[in-house]
């Protein structure tokens, strides 16, 4: 599968939060101003959102960005700890 702009280093809890709020993917897509396909890609981890979209999603769920998105680098090379 092609992962556009996603390298597997960022995980998110979008699906978990959406289900806990009993929202459909379309509801979430409408709320944060994207298409349903983008919500699907976000939940599958196939797409890393822009900073703006990440903020929109975290504000919608009323959580911080760090609560919604976790940076878990698979390759530590070149990263400052």
């Amino acid at each position: 599968m092609t992962r556009i702009t996603a390298n597997g280093n960022i995980e998110n809890k979008i699906q978990e939060k959406r289900i806990s709020r009993k929202l459909t993917q379309q509801d979430l897509a409408d709320a944060i101003g994207v298409t349903r396909a983008t919500v699907v890609a976000l939940e599958r981890g196939a797409y890393n959102p822009s900073l703006e979209l990440a903020f929109r999603a975290s504000r919608f769920f009323d959580v911080s960005i760090e609560d919604l998105f976790q940076f878990k680098p698979k390759h530590q090379k070149g990263l400052l700890k």
Partner: protein, 196 residues
């Protein structure tokens, strides 16, 4: 300005059948033949179609200039070519990736065409003299010319195989590159959209 551009785009699409009809018609009858028929209806129709063609051509040139310089026209055309509406940032990313792939694919094709057009290859039999006991010669080289003069370096002796320049017309090459670029862009965009 927007209305004018919109009118140009609409006219280009709407008048296309007329232009195509005129092109096909001109294959069978020349302008002088049609005028010599002296049938007012046909001559009048031909006249109207001729003016439509002139207007269509003027619109086409204007549209091409807009396509080069106007950002909004570029964006709208790209969306039309890719068959995608760019509804959100993910689709914008996909379009960018498709454009990058299309650029590389077209550059590769153009480089290949440039290489093939410069390459000269010739296999010849040398009738009277032999070089180190061999009676044939193979020459490979490059011939670059800024203009199409039609002259190419020739081998001595009886040529059995010769390649120089591309066996496609200039129009054919331009059409091939255009179709290649449009297809590669559209296919890349579709593939990315399907898989991502």
């Amino acid at each position: 300005m927007k209305k004018f551009i919109s009118w140009i785009q609409k006219y280009l699409v709407v008048a296309s059948p007329v232009v195509l009809t005129m092109v096909v018609w001109s294959f069978f009858q020349s302008d002088s033949e049609i005028r010599a028929m002296n049938v007012p209806l046909i001559t009048g129709l031909w006249e109207v179609m001729s003016w439509s063609l002139i207007l269509w051509f003027a619109c086409f040139v204007t549209f091409m200039v807009l396509l080069v310089f106007r950002k909004e026209t570029q964006e709208a055309t790209v969306k039309l070519i890719a068959g995608m509406k760019e509804r959100d940032e993910r689709e914008e990313v996909i379009m960018g990736l498709a454009a990058r792939r299309s650029f590389v694919a077209t550059t590769a094709l153009t480089l290949f065409l440039l290489f093939a057009s410069c390459l000269t290859l010739s296999v010849a039999r040398l009738p009277d003299q032999t070089i180190d006991g061999k009676k044939s010669s193979l020459s490979i080289g490059f011939h670059f010319s800024g203009s199409d003069t039609g002259s190419h370096p020739s081998s001595d002796g009886k040529v059995t195989f010769e390649h120089h320049d591309l066996p496609i017309s200039k129009t054919g090459i331009l059409l091939m590159v255009l179709v290649w670029q449009l297809c590669s862009f559209r296919m890349s965009a579709r593939k990315e959209l399907r898989e991502a």
